[in-house]
Symmetry: C2
């Protein structure tokens, strides 16, 4: 899925459903006044700067009622602003309607930043506060520098929301499970040894793994703290002699404990990490990645030499090993078959005139995935955007927003499964009834954009920004564009958005061998429709010449790409040829997993397009 | 020209021609020992971090004998390394042959950095030194942070080279001249007023213009301190009430002094800038751009609040005004005519069997440009790379390297003129005799790459990295690449390399309306030949749709692009069509400036290619 849209709202009814936004703001202002704070910044961030956060750390959501994953509230004595990006403009407007909160549209050209607004509106000498325990060091340092330059004092040690949030959820206690070596492709011991080798090269004496998926990768486990995230709240501190794993004991099975102990890993309480950092020898060089750890933990290690270098584990896990690639390929074939089962069901119901809604379709899709062994949970909440809903990048269907699926419009479906043997993420846009010419043109240009990048050969060292531009050409040439990034890295049975690489205007990371990345351009017309098409690709060697090594992408996603929506006059012949041979491969790989009806539907979908 | 190759070596014979490198290293080590320094870093940087530096600030060149513009020497008690990029590998090898200096190839994948090498080889507690008065704040801060993390002490207050460099050149004293308002398109008073408006928006009380071209732009003058740079050593400090111009009085004509005084600008000695920064009120918010000012001057303002924000003047001057664009267009037509005169001369001589060398061609080219009114000096030293010399990106012909131009090979010519009415920079690669098929393929793919970007339509906000990738596709598809950036901003009668924008893998600056940028992909085969083709483009509005504004490039360079080197099977039909209409325009614009022979040669060069 595009890098957005990650809502878990299952627990919403339990999060103080009765207190009104304005009442919460009044309580907060009373606390601000007591603490001598003139402005407080409230975000939905946890102590790991994870993308998917448990309800406990959704303070901004609780305060403003806005469910979007990206949003920052700023509260002063007489004003409250909510910064969010274009994906959430509409739901933010709905959420804050009738409250005093002002929507700050951060995707707009020339938009004012949080820092800029405060500089313009707060008196010199004012105090700005945020919770350093739940703010990434990088963000905290940037705020502190900016606020101090504006002549403000900064208090990063207050958790004012916690005081007024009296039914704040406890940290989750989901059980861990071990990933067998046959799936991981590398034992815990091997990974620790590789990591220590890298630490030695960087002259690092201690390394705190801040993002929770880093610990999952290193120690070959997955978690169940959050419904759609395979990680668990934990930290790992690695030194040349020790591996300290900080996690609530309740989460550990006997199997996990045994496996960790056998690998020389010692278990400590989740909260003990701070004391362990405090206890490090002052001569130690400690690697803390500023985007992955909190300002507060950085302070705990402040007596050491803090090295803010690259995240070694993130780099190691980004280049997948052969076993991980082999399993991910199977996961994507299973997932493709699940999608075909879903589409067959969908079109059969519609043919029979039986009702289908976005929500019922979403539930059916979950069922289709659950038929496959190894499936654990969706990679993220499915985006089922019919008609105008497809233009809402953030769209998350619920009982309230649910709409019938019926002719004539197009249906954007972005979903994925988290399997033991790999994470998937596939978007298709399909016609329900007869599409318009405008829909066909948008669709064909998006497809052409995706194929432009998917079929690219590029020099080693080329980065995400360079490749992002290449993907957009077909759309730009036709006066179209999309505002989200073009693609993201994806974990092996881990987070659906995984760094460091990605296709976006600002991603300077080179695309390396073994990386898995999505390609997912789109085209959205608010109030009308949305198109997005997404496949996952694997970077492989193409050739070596006297100019160096050249890479290309191996396509790993096998799911038919609808051809009724194609206007062939907008698709170059070499792309039509690619599409035809892709569909041959889809048919070959998925057919064995399908029943007769499904195979028959798939055969029709995979019929070749004529090259003009 | 590509962003490299900027050698002025005219004064070389006067720079201590007799002392050997090893003797200099011995002297330096004696001073290091006296000062208690274990490693010293020596670069060719001036107090402004200018790209073109006067001989006075070529300490690394003096120490190592390596003439390339990019290079950093590191000297310890028993080792000396010279870091340089791939353009200078060969000349660096030649320069240091027989000395103890080790070449550190910084363009190689996995190359060790200066910081990395010192971390690996110096004992903890060692002292590393560099001259903070001639090191940009940004570089200095990065070094200091890194060295302190490695457990080193840092001394940024020593100029050890100065002690041993007994015939070090004095700062230059070139006279300034005023740019008339009819060329500048905006008066000094207007520019100061605009700048103060921007300073107010940024809440800045004082702003030191660190790069010398910033002062040139603001105060509508040009300098003559360096033969191929139109700037002058100076600083400008702007406050809401004052404009202080720091420059040697000898450089000022009566006209310049009068013009400055009329605009409310006060004149001060070049060295007085430090005292003026010291004298700023401690409550002042001072804008110092870390890449544009020295570590030492930042310390002089250290008692104030130092704001390291965007360089306001650089942003203002990057978007050219209509007058500047109008004049630049004329400068590029004049320059195109000068090039045609040169080519006509070149081919006529070769036809008659008269000798031509790279050096004689270079001199003739200077003469051809000098025929045009408003011409002041070359934009940079011409790159005249015949045959294998064309593969040396840095190639700067002199008596020693000079080679005859004769069949059969290709000739890369990258040159430009600094005119009162605009700076130019054009590269063409032309055949002498019969080209090989490999040369034709390289050439055609480079041309196709250039046109891919030149003909692009792109969304507002697209940046240099995204567009860089687009330019490289045709080369990548065919297993080729080039290591330099794809293009750079260019000044209005100012520096030939001007920020902030540029086409490169790491340039995140959006390409904005009014910007002038070069497009100059290349293809180089060491020991064989080099190809580069370069035009200057102007960003203009293409259209506005519901997806926002879209921009395109207006081509400003008019000079025939050789078609004998084209293999049409590598050039798409729409690019051939573009080329044919380009040549019609070249013929129309340049013919009035040519004599009969030249026009006849041009007509032949501009004949249409057949679209297959």
């Amino acid at each position: 899925m595009a890098k957005f849209v990650l809502e878990v709202w299952l627990f919403a009814p339990f999060i103080c459903p009765f207190m009104q936004v304005d009442a919460k703001l009044s309580l907060l202002r009373a606390e601000m006044s007591k603490a001598g704070v003139d402005a407080v910044i409230v975000a939905n961030t946890d102590p790991h700067n994870n993308e998917y956060v448990a309800d406990r750390w959704r303070g901004r959501q609780w305060l403003t009622d806005m469910k979007g994953s990206n949003g920052t509230a700023v509260v002063t004595a007489d004003w409250c602003g909510l910064w969010t990006d274009s994906r959430y403009y509409e739901i933010a407007e709905d959420a804050i309607a009738g409250t005093e909160i002002e929507l700050m549209r951060m995707s707009d050209i020339g938009a004012i930043t949080v820092e800029g607004w405060l500089k313009d509106h707060l008196a010199q000498g004012s105090t700005v506060s945020f919770n350093g325990a739940e703010t990434a060091l990088k963000q905290a340092e940037s705020w502190i520098k900016s606020f101090e330059l504006s002549g403000f004092k900064v208090n990063a040690g207050l958790d004012l929301i916690n005081i007024i949030w009296n039914d704040r959820p406890e940290p989750p206690k989901g059980e861990l499970f071990i990933v067998d070596d046959e799936y991981a492709g590398q034992t815990i011991e091997d990974k620790i040894s590789t990591l220590r080798g890298e630490m030695e090269k960087s002259k690092v004496d201690a390394y705190l793994l801040g993002r929770t998926d880093e610990s999952c990768w290193l120690l070959n486990f997955r978690g169940t703290d959050i419904d759609i995230s395979p990680t668990a709240y934990c930290w790992t501190l690695v030194t040349p002699e020790q591996v300290l794993f900080f996690v609530d004991a309740e989460k550990l099975t006997a199997e996990a404990t045994a496996k960790f102990e056998a690998a020389g890993v010692t278990i400590h309480g989740y909260e003990d990490v701070e004391a362990s950092l405090n206890a490090l020898d002052a001569s130690a060089r400690v690697l803390l990645v500023p985007d992955y750890i909190s300002h507060r933990l950085a302070e705990a290690a402040g007596h050491c030499t803090v090295v803010d270098d690259r995240p070694i584990v993130t780099d190691l896990k980004a280049a997948k090993n052969e076993t991980e690639i082999k399993h991910t390929k199977q996961a994507l074939i299973d997932d493709g078959a699940a999608l075909v089962k879903f589409y067959t069901w969908l079109y059969a119901r519609l043919d029979k005139g039986e009702p289908v809604t976005e929500l019922s379709a979403s539930r059916k899709l979950d069922e289709c995935r659950a038929e496959f062994s190894g499936f654990r949970h969706p990679s993220f909440e499915s985006i089922m955007g019919f008609g105008p809903d497809g233009a809402l990048n953030h769209y998350s269907v619920d009982e309230e927003s649910d709409k019938p699926v019926q002719p004539d419009d197009i249906f954007l479906i972005d979903s994925g499964g988290n399997f033991v043997h790999g994470a998937t993420d596939t978007t298709r846009t399909i016609p329900i009834g007869k599409p318009t010419q405008k829909q066909k043109e948008d669709y064909t240009l998006v497809l052409s954009s995706m194929l432009e990048l998917l079929m690219l050969e590029f020099a080693e060292g080329a980065n995400g920004a360079q490749l992002d531009g290449i993907c957009r050409q077909a759309l730009w040439r036709n006066g179209r564009n999309f505002k989200h990034s073009t693609g993201h890295g994806i974990g092996f049975g881990l987070e659906v958005h995984e760094g460091p690489q990605g296709f976006s205007a600002v991603n300077k990371e080179p695309i390396k061998l073994g990386m898995l990345t999505t390609i997912e351009p789109g085209c959205y017309r608010p109030g009308e429709h949305g198109v997005r098409i997404e496949n996952i690709v694997h970077t492989v060697l193409s050739r070596e010449t006297e100019f160096g090594r050249f890479f290309k992408f191996e396509n790993l996603t096998f799911c038919p790409i609808n051809t009724d929506l194609i206007d062939p006059s907008f698709l170059p012949a070499h792309q039509i040829e690619w599409l035809n041979s892709y569909h041959e491969e889809v048919l070959e790989k998925l057919s064995p997993l399908l029943n007769e009806d499904e195979r028959s539907w798939l055969e029709h979908e995979c019929r070749p397009l004529t090259v003009s």
